[in-house]
């Protein structure tokens, strides 16, 4: 039983990180209707910068630089590229971000090369004990950070002007524009925010118990996609729930590999997608996505 609890708790904390990455996807989609395939390489850039800079300028300054850089890159993708083709269809926009992703990740792979770059976090490989379950300190901190960020975001969206602007732009862009809402500003804010979330997610994904920053880190953002889909693409709450579910599912499946070996080995990778498909069969727009009600 403790084994199950330990895995489940570990999965929840991992899920919190996935939730952050998933939130990035959802934020961009709600504000501008784009699936941002470049999220993964922005994550990688953020983690990489922390890895390379924590020695010369210290950990916390490095984190700040990384967050700023990720936000900037994300913003530039929107301002320079997406803005020109806002009216294009979903597939075109998605592939456009894919092109950016290819450029960024190729350059990152070149830079990282053989190295496994540690992020130099002050909590290192420390372990905390919660009711008999040992959890890496980095994961607990990740969970706490995720909680704070999600709460802050929820509050901001509800209460601030920018939040209201974003919600109305998401509901009906044309009308919002007619009402005087600067759509470009809203978009820029959303993309920058997604960059911030990606960088933070990257920091925690590259921390212990992972080895450090490797080129494969960009692919982890891919693992957040089932989370976004099953939560509902335009629902931030869905992204969080989806992230947690996916985190728990992958860790449980990896931990119980032996018992589940009749399903084939290595189901930890494919289980999130199966869960996603199952959810979609029952709720075609994800758990919390806006349902299109059409009856003809």
């Amino acid at each position: 039983m403790t084994q199950f609890l330990s895995l489940a708790v570990g999965g929840l904390f991992l899920g919190a990180i996935y939730a952050l990455v998933a939130l990035g996807f959802v934020t961009i989609f709600r504000a501008t209707g784009v699936i941002n395939f470049a999220q993964g390489s922005v994550l990688l850039v953020g983690a990489y910068l922390i890895g390379r800079l924590h020695d010369p300028i210290g950990f916390w300054p490095a984190v700040l630089v990384a967050i700023a850089a990720a936000a900037l890159i994300s913003l530039l993708v929107d301002a320079l590229l997406i803005r020109r083709v806002r009216a294009a269809d979903l597939g075109t926009l998605a592939i456009l971000t894919l092109g950016v992703d290819i450029l960024l990740s190729t350059e990152m792979t070149r830079e990282i090369g053989t190295d496994v770059i540690g992020v130099g976090a002050p909590w290192g490989a420390d372990v905390v004990e919660l009711a008999g379950i040992r959890v890496p300190a980095s994961r607990v901190i990740a969970g706490a950070v995720a909680l704070v960020l999600v709460a802050a975001l929820a509050a901001a969206v509800k209460l601030t002007d920018w939040g209201v602007a974003m919600r109305s732009a998401a509901e009906d862009g044309e009308t919002a524009g007619l009402m005087g809402i600067r759509l470009n500003r809203v978009a820029a804010g959303a993309w920058a925010l997604a960059g911030v979330l990606a960088a933070i997610g990257g920091l925690f994904l590259a921390s212990f118990p992972a080895a450090g920053v490797t080129p494969g880190l960009g692919l982890v953002a891919l693992a957040a996609i089932p989370a976004v889909v099953l939560g509902g693409f335009d629902s931030p709450g869905g992204a969080v729930v989806g992230g947690l579910i996916i985190g728990v599912v992958s860790v449980l499946c990896a931990g119980y590999q032996d018992e589940l070996s009749f399903l084939g080995r290595g189901i930890g990778t494919v289980a999130p997608y199966v869960v996603m498909l199952l959810v979609l069969l029952v709720r075609p727009s994800g758990l919390f996505g806006t349902r299109e009600l059409t009856r003809v």
Binding site: Q3, S6, L7, G10, L14, T109, G113, T114, D115, V116, G118, G124, A125, V127, R134, P136, L205, F208, P209, A210, A211, G212, T214, G216, L217, L219, V220, S250, V251, L252, C253, A254, G255, Y256, Q257, D258, S261, R265, G266, G268, T269
Partner: protein, 417 residues
């Protein structure tokens, strides 16, 4: 489509057709009494190299090319092979079978054999053509799944033999007893699953239980695996994956108080691991079993390699399964080509036959043991080096004792997969 497009298309096609004429075949003829064929002339011998320089294994690939250049540059300076200079034709496969096949098509006409092919899915994709062309292929990998094979040369022994020897090492030196449980963390694919065959065989022989954890290169967090190992009460862990996973495994195991020895196959180590936070944990409990020599080994071949490497690449980092591997592979190719020249037959078949006639090739210690290529269904050796992690040793590994092998490893039969 408008008439203009048709016209343009036809013109372009005509130009292309004119530009790429089919090359004429290099027929076999004699030069100085030695039969030559594609890839060999009176003054040159051309070898094909197909590493991965931009894909998943790019760091290994680049390191390997350093080792290859090191060997052949020195050899050419010393006069080459029977008066002929050795040239390399290198193509990047990007670890993509499609690219690999196209790259192979590009160089196959001009080379006498393949001095290096990285990756068993790549090698698999090329085998039908390589077989047809009678070329030898130096396989930059150590899986026995590729055996039996007339054309493939493995530099040392295979992952399953390494795993058997790893279990033997644990039983001899780390108190692993019959009835105990061993965890095996392995990659999906030819590398990990081949090692697993070995560990299962040894476990069978000694009444041990193996707890399997299969992962993919994308998995960087070993928490779930360590939890499973702890639950099963493993006394040791076998590791058949890559360095990032090694760092995670060592770190998580330490944090979860699973203080057991970890024994890895050759590819599980890279000197860069000493710069990660897991370095301390690795130095305490990580061992490597491989037929490639640790770089602090005192044998003549290894020291010669190390000296040459440090001179040619003062800023580089030598590695056992990167630059040293390619260097050793070149030694094998050199031996085969030299023998072929002695037999006055430098055709592809001639070189292949010469390779199979080598029964006691001594690489000076870069590969454990003397290599016997006469039986295509066996790897050329069953000996391995055992090493521990040591921060100040070149390449980060310090050899333990002499290369050897266990009785189980000697008696192991390759059943194919």
């Amino acid at each position: 489509m408008s008439r203009r497009w048709y016209a343009i298309t036809t013109v372009v096609l005509a130009l292309a057709v004119g530009a790429c004429g089919k090359g004429s075949d290099d027929g076999g003829d004699s030069s100085g009494g030695v039969k030559t064929g594609p890839g060999t002339t009176a003054d040159t011998i051309t070898l094909g190299y197909l590493p991965d320089l931009s894909g998943v294994f790019a760091p290994n690939g680049k390191s390997m090319m350093e080792g290859a250049k090191l060997y052949w540059d020195a050899k050419n300076e010393a006069g080459g092979i029977c008066g002929r200079k050795v040239e390399l034709k290198t193509q990047d496969t990007g670890y993509d079978p499609q690219k690999a096949v196209a790259a192979y098509q590009q160089i196959s006409g001009d080379v006498v054999g393949l001095g290096l092919v990285l990756g068993s899915s790549i090698t698999s994709a090329l085998l039908p053509s390589v077989k047809q062309e009678d070329m030898f292929l130096n396989f930059a990998g150590w899986t026995s799944d590729i055996l039996p094979n007339e054309n493939v040369a493995i530099a040392g022994t295979t992952y399953d033999i390494e795993a058997i020897n790893a279990i033997d090492f644990l039983m001899r030196e780390h108190g692993l007893k019959a009835g105990g449980t061993v965890g095996h963390l392995y990659f999906e694919g030819d590398y990990g699953e081949n090692a697993l065959q070995g560990s299962k065989y040894a476990a069978d022989k000694h009444d041990l239980k193996i707890v399997e954890q299969k992962i993919t290169p994308a998995d960087t967090d070993m928490t779930g695996a360590v939890a499973a190992f702890r639950r099963a009460g493993v006394k040791a862990i076998l590791f058949s994956a890559a360095p990032p996973q090694a760092a995670s495994l060592a770190g998580v195991a330490t944090s979860q108080k699973l203080d057991v020895p970890i024994v890895a196959n050759g590819p599980g180590w890279t000197p860069q691991l000493l710069t990660t936070p897991a370095a301390g944990a690795l130095a305490k409990r990580y061992y490597v079993v491989s037929s490639m020599a640790p770089l602090n080994d005192e044998s003549e071949g290894v020291q010669k390699f190390l000296a040459a490497y440090e001179q040619a690449y003062p800023k580089g980092t030598p590695s056992s399964n990167g630059s040293l591997y390619a260097y050793a592979g070149a030694q094998i190719a050199d031996a085969a080509l030299t023998k072929a020249c002695e037999n006055k037959d430098l055709t592809r078949k001639g070189v292949l036959d010469a390779l199979h006639s080598l029964t006691a090739l001594d690489t000076g210690g870069t590969i454990a043991g003397k290599l016997d290529f006469s039986d295509p269904s066996q790897p050329p050796s069953r000996l391995v080096y055992t090493a521990r992690v040591r921060k100040d040793a070149p390449g980060g590994l310090a050899v333990i004792g002499e290369p050897g092998t266990s009785d189980d490893a000697e008696s192991y039969q390759f059943g194919g997969s």
